[in-house]
Structures are given as C-alpha cells and as structure tokens.
C-alpha cells in the first residue's frame, strides 16, 4: 500500500466527487421529458422523428403497470433479436474469420446476459463472435439495458418525489432521451479517447505477425478422429511444435468498450476483457474506464436529491455509498498487497504483492481498485483475474455483488437497489423509535415494506438456491478449475454474478456447458426482472401518496446518522445472509493459506 496508491485513490475519489453535481444536473434535464439541454438544437428533430415513427405521444405518461409492461416487452424483443443474430452469425456480414453459428445454449445465455445488463462471458469474444455479432447483437444491449436501468431508477425517483400522482413517466420517452442526450454523445468522445490510448477500431480481418523469435510449445497429440492420445497411464501425450506466427485480434473494439464501461455492462470484446492490452492499453485508459463505471451512478444520487428537493438526502446516500466503497477497496488492496505467503516461501519477493493474474502496467493498486469498482457497480469488466486473487482480496468483489451492487451500483440499478434499502432503513428506524416510518414526508406502509423485502429476498434466494443446486450436482462440479474451498467460491461467485447481473467471474469455472449456460441464464432473468417489477410497484405506490409536511417527529434522511444506519442495513441484510456461505469459501481458504501447507 504505497504512496502512489494513496494518491491515485485520492485523485479518483476527488474527481468522482467533483463530477457528481454536473452529471446529476444534466441527468435532471435528460430525465425530464420537457428538459432542455445544450444538444437540443441538433437532437430535438431526431427525438421527434423517433416519437413520430413509434406513434408515441411524449406527453402521455404511464402508470407503473404500463411502464413495466413496456419495459418487459422491450427486453423480450431484445433477447429474441440477439439470440437470432448469434444463431445466424455465419450468414450475416462482417465475419472475416468465418466463425460458425453460436450454439443454442450459449446464444440463450449471451442474449439474456446482455439484455439483463449482466454480460456474463460464457463466450470467448475473439474466438466465438463475429464483428457483426459484437457490434449489433451485443452492443445494442450495452446501450439498451443501460438505458432501461436508468429509466427504472428515474421512475422510482419520480414515485418518491410526486404526490397523489397516478403515473411515473413514459418508458419510451425515457429510453429515447437517455440514448440520444446521455449515452451516445459521451460514448462518441470517450471511444475516440480510447483509440488515442491504443485501443483498436477497424473492420480488418485478424492480422498475422511473424514472430521475432519462433517459440516451441507442447501441444497434446491428437489421433485421426481429433481425440487426445493418452499413454498407458492415462496421461495425455504431448509433442513439441514450433510456432512462428501470432494471430492478432482486430475489429471495432473502441466503440463497444466505451458503452461497455459507461453503461456498466462489462462484457469483454475479447476473452481477457479489460486486462487485454488492446481493451485497456494504458494506465490512463484504465483510470477513465474505472471512472466511467461510477460516473452515471454517482450523478444519479445528485439527481435524487434534486428531484426530491432535498439535496442533503442525495449526498447522504452518496456518503453511505462512499463508505462502503472505501471499506471494500481498502480490504482488497491490503490483501493483494500482502500477497500469497505460499509463493513468498518459494523465494518470490513479497514486495510486489500478488501478481498472479494481474498486468504490470496496472499493478496491485489499480487491479484492486478496478475489481472493487466493477463489483460495487454491476459492471463486471475486469482488468485482472479475480479467480487468482488472495482469498480475502477475492472475497471483496464477491461481497460487493452479494450486497446487491448498491455501492454506486449499475447505471440506474444501483440507485433503485439502494432506494429499496433506504425504505427498509426508514422502516427499521421507525420500529426502533416506535413511530410510523416516513420517507421524505410519505408514510411507509405495509405494502411498501413488503415489496422492498420481496425484492431483496428474491435476490438472496436466487443466488443461494442455484449455488446449492450446482454444488450437489455432477454438472456443477464438472466445471471446476480449482478444488477445495476455492472451487466452492468459483460456483458461489458465478451465481452471485449472474443473479446480481454483474458478469465478472472467478473465470476458471468452465461454465460453458448447457447446464451452466441455462441455469445462469435463468438466474440472471430472475435477478433482473424479479427485482425491477417490485421496484416499479413500489414507485407506483409511492407516487399515489400524499406528502405530509416534515415535523419534529420525522426521521431525517440526511446527515451522518442516516448514512450510517443505511450502511448498517445494507451490511446486515446483505452480509449476514451470505456469511455462512462466505465462511465455507474465502474465509476457510484464507486460514488454510496462511496457517497450513494444504494444497488443492
């Protein structure tokens, strides 16, 4: 934990704090159907053209049921669209590597994964997907699922801010405005910046380089049928081969990575995601990638304060998020800096920390920061391999996901997730002092608490039930890359990531089987939509209520007391639910690593 790390952490948090207000104010304009922005001159005609073609009346708002229906219909069409693109990849253009159609279960998994803003990488980008599949099949959802998340957050905030209202906005208007005024303009500039750092953006076939020094490699011998040959003891036979060329990936990467990060999607263009030197070429590109994950989620807290005319409430939520972020970050950074004592015993210099699965240009600090931020938010891009983290270092991303990704969180998803916890906090605080709980002048009643608790519980069940199923099944254990407690962590991480719509992985798990693709796909659908529907129901119910003026007995939702209560609620509900599972995985592995010589 060196001084450069502390300086980078300070710069990161400082810039994030400075950007929160301007981004929040801009969001306030974008998320208001009548809002004016500096881009109106060029984009207003495009916006009107969209409404005309869709026969949408931008002034007509929807009640929560209609809003939900629009969102579900849109997501369904998106899943079918991407599934079709992937299955027909070999017939579509922009496929210079002549990659074949994607298998049925992988296409299902990938389509669902992108539509739910998860971006779980069961596919290996460069070896499975054509340029068309990436640019159209996947990038479409990078935009659309991000916009849908922001729309749901806006709908919930409207529900909180309005009184005796029947409607919570118009989904189509939100969708169009978020695309036109927010995501596309930022991505245009951001993508060009990424190219300036060394990211590729072209439509050329893969390049073949002649190696400076040919290398010899051991490859498994295969027989005429393509099956690996085994010797008398059943070990695979290998032969030496000389490799003198390197195939270099090409394609339209920068345009996709910009929205992948800004929209907290996280699905890699290539298999190694943002650790690949093309997908994250420099420390500067790395810094902006991390910042862009938190940019919109952080701005949304300001939007919340602005909409509810209680800016201190917005900052109190920001503060609670910042506390949870720092706690996770410091633990992860400390654990990775301390490194792996087993390797130190072999003569590896402890000064470097745990460099397995990390890149030199990022080092320990930026790997820990990226891992923390990508799981605080539901991004799931990685610039280092979480599977190779130390047990406690790897536990931080796992816990972040299990808390519901409410620490700034995914675009929109973070705010609406956190607001569910706010409702629960207000309820708990009300119980403690024996008063009817109130949130910003609205009585929190049985219905509100029920739907909030339902959303949180469904997510916990989603993760735990699938994990339990996998660890007692042949298909679940077949995919393991590591044995012992670390193997359990791999499975737990996979379903946490799927249900939490994160998309990062303990990537050693070979989750490409039909079983894993299907169960993870289901976990993602449940995690996304069984959370969103209760949230929109909450929005609709809150919108109906009257706002009663604040009195001496009202529970203040700003200030230090509220922030700490909120942090406490998130930790109690989230962490305690998963503590037994975490004990079986990372915690026991930590003690085995430090106090024994057991290997797996």
């Amino acid at each position: 934990m060196d001084r450069f790390g502390w300086m980078q952490l300070g710069v990161f948090l400082g810039i994030l704090l400075l950007l929160t207000k301007p981004v929040g104010l801009y969001l306030y304009r974008v998320l208001d159907a009548e809002g004016k922005t500096f881009l109106d001159k060029g984009l207003k005609p495009v916006e009107r053209f969209f409404y005309r073609l869709l026969a949408v009346d931008p002034k007509a708002e929807q009640d929560w049921k209609r809003y939900t229906l629009s969102l579900l219909a849109f997501s369904l069409v998106g899943v079918v669209f991407t599934y079709t693109v992937l299955r027909l990849q070999h017939l579509l253009p922009l496929n210079p590597q002549r990659l074949g159609p994607v298998s049925g279960h992988l296409a299902f998994n990938t389509a669902v994964s992108f539509a739910t803003n998860t971006n779980w990488q069961s596919y290996g980008g460069e070896s499975t997907l054509s340029y068309f599949s990436q640019m159209v099949g996947l990038a479409f959802h990078n935009f659309a699922s991000a916009a849908a998340g922001i729309a749901v957050a806006a709908a919930l905030v409207r529900g909180v801010a309005r009184q005796t209202a029947k409607t919570i906005g118009n989904f189509w208007v939100d969708l169009v405005r978020i695309h036109l005024y927010l995501l596309l303009p930022i991505c245009l500039i951001y993508a060009v910046f990424l190219v300036s750092q060394g990211m590729i953006q072209n439509f050329k076939p893969y390049e073949t380089a002649r190696l400076v020094e040919p290398m010899s490699v051991e490859v498994p011998t295969v027989d005429a049928q393509g099956q690996p040959v085994k010797d008398g003891k059943g070990n695979p036979v290998t032969e030496r081969q000389v490799v003198d060329t390197q195939t270099i990936v090409q394609g339209p990467m920068a345009s996709q990575v910009a929205i992948k990060m800004l929209g907290t999607n996280g699905g890699g263009y290539v298999n190694a995601n943002a650790s690949h030197p093309y997908e994250n070429p420099s420390p500067l590109s790395n810094f902006f990638q991390i910042l862009s994950i938190f940019l919109i989620p952080s701005g949304l807290t300001y939007y919340l304060g602005r909409m509810t005319r209680n800016q201190r409430h917005g900052w109190a939520v920001w503060g609670a998020m910042a506390v949870l972020f720092l706690a996770g970050m410091l633990l992860c950074w400390w654990a990775e800096s301390a490194g792996n004592p087993r390797l130190h015993a072999l003569g590896v210099d402890p000064a470097y920390g745990n460099m397995e699965g990390k890149e030199v240009r990022f080092g320990i600090f930026n790997s820990a920061l990226f891992a923390t931020v990508t799981t605080d938010a539901s991004c799931g891009a990685v610039n280092s391999m979480h599977d190779s983290f130390t047990p406690l270092g790897g536990m931080v991303p796992l816990i972040n996901i299990q808390l519901g990704e409410v620490v700034f969180g995914g675009v929109g998803a973070g705010l609406y997730g956190m607001l569910v916890f706010v409702v629960l906090t207000v309820f708990l605080a009300g119980l403690m002092v024996g008063r009817t709980p109130e949130y910003l002048g609205k009585k929190i009643e049985s219905y509100d608490v029920k739907v909030s608790a339902l959303a949180v519980l469904l997510l916990i069940f989603d993760i735990m039930c699938f994990t339990a199923w996998a660890v007692v099944s042949r298909w679940g254990l077949a995919g393991l890359n590591n044995a012992g407690p670390h193997g359990f962590s791999e499975i737990l991480y996979a379903f946490s990531s799927g249900a939490g719509n994160n998309g990062s992985a303990f990537a050693g798990l070979a989750a490409g089987s039909a079983w894993y693709d299907t169960t993870l796909g289901l976990a993602m659908l449940i995690g996304r939509f069984f959370f969103i529907v209760p949230v929109l129901a909450l929005a609709g119910n809150l919108a109906k209520k009257k706002i009663v003026p604040e009195s001496g007995g009202s529970f203040p939702v700003s200030g230090m007391t509220f922030s700490l209560l909120l942090v406490g609620t998130v930790l109690i509900v989230g962490l305690l639910s998963f503590f037994p599972a975490l004990s079986l995985g990372p915690v026991v592995e930590h003690f085995l690593m430090v106090h024994s010589n057991v290997v797996f």
């Binding site: 073609l53 229906l69 219909a73 069409v77 998106g78 070896s127 159209v136 479409f140 189509w172 969708l175 695309h179 596309l184 245009l188 993508a191 060009v192 190219v195 300036s196 060394g198 990211m199 590729i200 953006q201 072209n202 390049e207 380089a209 002649r210 400076v212 020094e213 490699v217 390197q246 195939t247 270099i248 339209p252 920068a254 910009a258 298999n271 190694a272 093309y278 420099s282 420390p283 810094f287 087993r342 390797l343 072999l346 003569g347 590896v348 210099d349 745990n354 397995e356 990390k358 890149e359 240009r361 280092s384 599977d387 190779s388 670390h486 990537a507 592995e589 690593m593 290997v599 797996f600």
Partner: protein, 193 residues
Amino acid sequence: MNILIAELRASLGITLLLVVLCCGIYPVVVWAVAQGVFPHKANGSLVRVDGRVAGSSLLAQGFTGAAYFHPRPSAAGRGYDAANSSGTNLGPTSKLLIEDVKRRTADYRAENGLPADAQVPADAVTSSASGLDPHIGVENARIQAGRVAKARGMSREEVLRRIAVHTEARSLMILGEPRVNVLMLNLDLDGKR
C-alpha cells in the same frame, strides 16, 4: 391483449431504430474519426520489420533465448496466443500454481546466475491476466540485463541504457506502474528499431 401487441410493436420499432443509430451510425463514425486521427493505434499498434508485420507493441511474444529479454509467463492458448487471451485463473492454494511458480523461480535463478536463495520479482514467475502483458517490471529487466549482455557480447551498461529507453513511466506521474516493453526492447537490441 391489444395493449400487449401495441407494446411489442413499439418495442420492435424502437429496437430497429436504436440498432441503426447505436450499432450502425455510431461505430462507423468512431471508426472514421479513429482511422483519420489515430490510424496506427486504431489498427493495433503493429510493428513492421522489413515491411512485414512482426507483432504489436501492445502484445507480448514468447521469447526464450538467452539473448532476448523474457516476458511474463502466459496462459493464453498455447502461450502468447493473441487470439485466445486468458489468465491461468488458478487460486492461491492451487497445487498447480505453486508447482509452476516453484519451477519458474528455479529456472529464473539458473538463467540469470542468481544464488539459490535469491528473491525473484513476482512478475517474472507469475502469469499475467491476459497472457499478453507486453511489459515486465523494471527490476525484472535489470536482473535479466546481465544474461542478455553476455549472450550478445555487449556491456551490461549498454543494455541497461537500452532498458531505460524502453521504460515507460507512470502516466501523469502518478497513474499505473513503471514498466519495460519487452518486444520493443528486444527489437531494439536486434537493431530493428
């Protein structure tokens, strides 16, 4: 039912419009600007030797000869496969990881004439995340300098000077870590840069 059909129709319409805008116009505009302003980078920062592509300054190649600097171990495909990026994904108590690091540590000491109890830089014996990490740490490069100098009949000082030329500093003085680009350094030593 009519409502559902109306919603599905609107969904289909907006999906098509957004595909044209976000998956057609947007990437092509980025492509045009990128190719116009940063053509070298947009096409992969390729390095040419005698007119042929010899690699990319951003992607590691697997050097093993004594006269070349060695990159970090790679788990990409069969090793340094730039169409199959990957890490090992081995956990900290993995038997395979510990055996690999043990073997690499012994090899590294032997290659570079270090005593049997010398501590070795972590980046030299652990696999990178992508399997294509183009860099090694500065300390790792300095340890390898003696071997490379001997194999090439150069002075160690001259090799250290070349290392300094190919050392990249922290961005804006604080971001990231100092590092040495292995491919560019090796090409320089070959007189091809």
